[in-house]
């Protein structure tokens, strides 16, 4: 599904990533600073590799040799950040619908009601991000990415800013997304337990190298 073979250097850090990632949930583990977030940014299109290529199915997203680079807004991948990155000036409802509104109506796989019910955030729609707890914020961030009907959902340590109790609350939601929507996911975390709970297969990044 996702085939990548890329090299990216930033300062004295170099990331080599060569892998084929299938459907279902792929966990990516590794210590802090190993290059996990960099890898997700590359897949999302927020960073450009210096060498290599990236394909999603038959769709060539990056091919440095041929000068091809598809920008993030055309990749149709959802990305959930560590701290949610909700738009502070928009209500929860408008945050949720931000990506949804960019889609043609026939490309919308989910409705606001479905996603709000799935993540149990129906009662929060009128609030501002500032009025949410950490756990609520992450669920809204998940919902926002999901409503964009992504071809692939990238999760960058979505639970790391939450305490243990909240993690245990959100993990089942992630599992529900997996079983009820079937959206393929790449789940990055330094916690092996989280990854084992969700993932169908696990890759490791260490010192800038991705391996199976």
């Amino acid at each position: 599904m996702l085939a990548l073979d890329v090299v990216l250097s930033r300062g004295n850090f170099t990331l080599h990533a060569k892998a084929t990632i299938g459907p279902g949930v792929t966990g990516i583990c590794g210590p802090s600073g190993a290059g996990k977030s960099t890898l997700l940014s590359l897949i999302a299109g927020l960073l450009k590799p210096q060498r290599g290529s990236l394909h999603f199915g038959d769709d060539c997203l990056v091919d440095v040799d041929r000068g091809r680079f598809v920008p993030p807004w055309q990749r149709h991948f959802g990305l959930v950040f560590q701290d949610g990155q909700l738009f502070p000036h928009l209500s929860v409802r408008d945050n949720l619908l931000y990506g949804w509104k960019q889609l043609a109506p026939e490309a919308r796989r989910f409705t606001l009601d479905q996603v709000a019910a799935l993540l149990e955030i129906d009662g929060l729609l009128g609030r501002r991000p500032l009025q949410l707890s950490g756990g609520e914020r992450q669920r809204v961030a998940l919902g926002r990415a999901l409503l964009y009907s992504p071809r692939l959902l990238l999760l960058d340590e979505p639970l790391s800013s939450l305490d243990e109790r909240l993690k245990q609350q959100i993990l089942p939601f992630l599992k529900r997304i997996k079983t009820e929507t079937g959206v393929p996911m790449i789940y990055v975390s330094h916690s092996r337990a989280e990854v084992d709970y969700l993932a169908d297969r696990v890759l490791t990044v260490d010192a800038g190298r991705l391996s199976e």
Binding site: L46, L79, Y98, Q102, L130, Q131
Partner: protein
């Protein structure tokens, strides 16, 4: 306090000139501030210094340069007149330009600061949700910078109301055409019986400046609250 027709004329002209100058500075200031914060280009340092220059020069210097350049005898001014029939020197339009040049740095500075404060990751989040760069700018960057933009516009407006030196040098002091509030005050102080009028307009200027600054403060606070950058009022009290 009642104003004479001449004083009214100066007040209304000032309001017109300052409003037009602000309307010109607003889009130009937003564009330039964005470029200075988000893009690297050759000569950036020079552009930056050039924008700030009117703040540190004696105002009469930019005014005189405008006259040399845009006066009817000047290279650009002569061409504008011959091609389009536009005359800037000694007209109210020239007063707008002089005010805009002098107030521009005050517009750029707060907007620039506001752009710099924005978390880039919010823009990244928007782009991974399918928003094109232009859409990201309109729906995330611009609204989040709004308090700075409003503050800049208010400063620009207030500075334009007070413009004196550059206006005097470029467009002179013509009643009904270029005699704004500060120029009217200056003229009255030179008239034997003008003291009362000068004092009235002075008090009026102080009141206007005060009102603009307080309005700017209130609007900025309100916008910040709307944007969720400040705790809502209820939480302030509770904390």
């Amino acid at each position: 306090m009642t104003l004479t027709p001449d004083e009214w004329q100066a007040l209304l002209l000032s309001a017109k000139v300052a409003s037009c100058a602000t309307l010109i500075c607003l889009p130009a200031g937003i564009a330039l501030a964005w470029l200075l914060v988000r893009r690297d280009f050759p000569g950036k340092l020079l552009v930056d210094a050039l924008v700030q220059l009117p703040m540190v020069l004696p105002p009469v210097v930019p005014g005189y340069l405008l006259l040399l350049l845009l006066g009817t005898q000047g290279p650009v001014g002569g061409w504008l007149q011959a091609q389009f029939g536009i005359v800037l020197a000694f007209t109210w339009k020239g007063a707008v330009l002089a005010s805009a040049v002098m107030a521009f740095p005050l517009m750029v500075q707060p907007v620039r600061l506001a752009f710099r404060m924005i978390d880039r990751r919010l823009e990244h989040a928007a782009s991974t949700l399918g928003a094109t760069p232009w859409r990201v700018f309109l729906s995330v960057t611009l609204p989040l910078a709004l308090p700075g933009i409003i503050a800049g516009a208010m400063l620009c407006f207030s500075r334009s109301l007070g413009e004196f030196g550059a206006t005097m040098a470029f467009v002179g002091n013509i009643p009904g055409e270029t005699r704004t509030l500060p120029l009217a005050i200056y003229s009255y102080t030179h008239l034997p019986d003008g003291e009362a009028a000068a004092l009235r307009l002075t008090l009026l200027s102080i009141a206007l400046a005060f009102a603009a600054l307080i309005a700017s403060h209130l609007i900025t606070r309100r916008t910040e609250r709307l944007l969720g950058q400040l705790e809502p009022r209820g939480r302030d009290a509770g904390a």
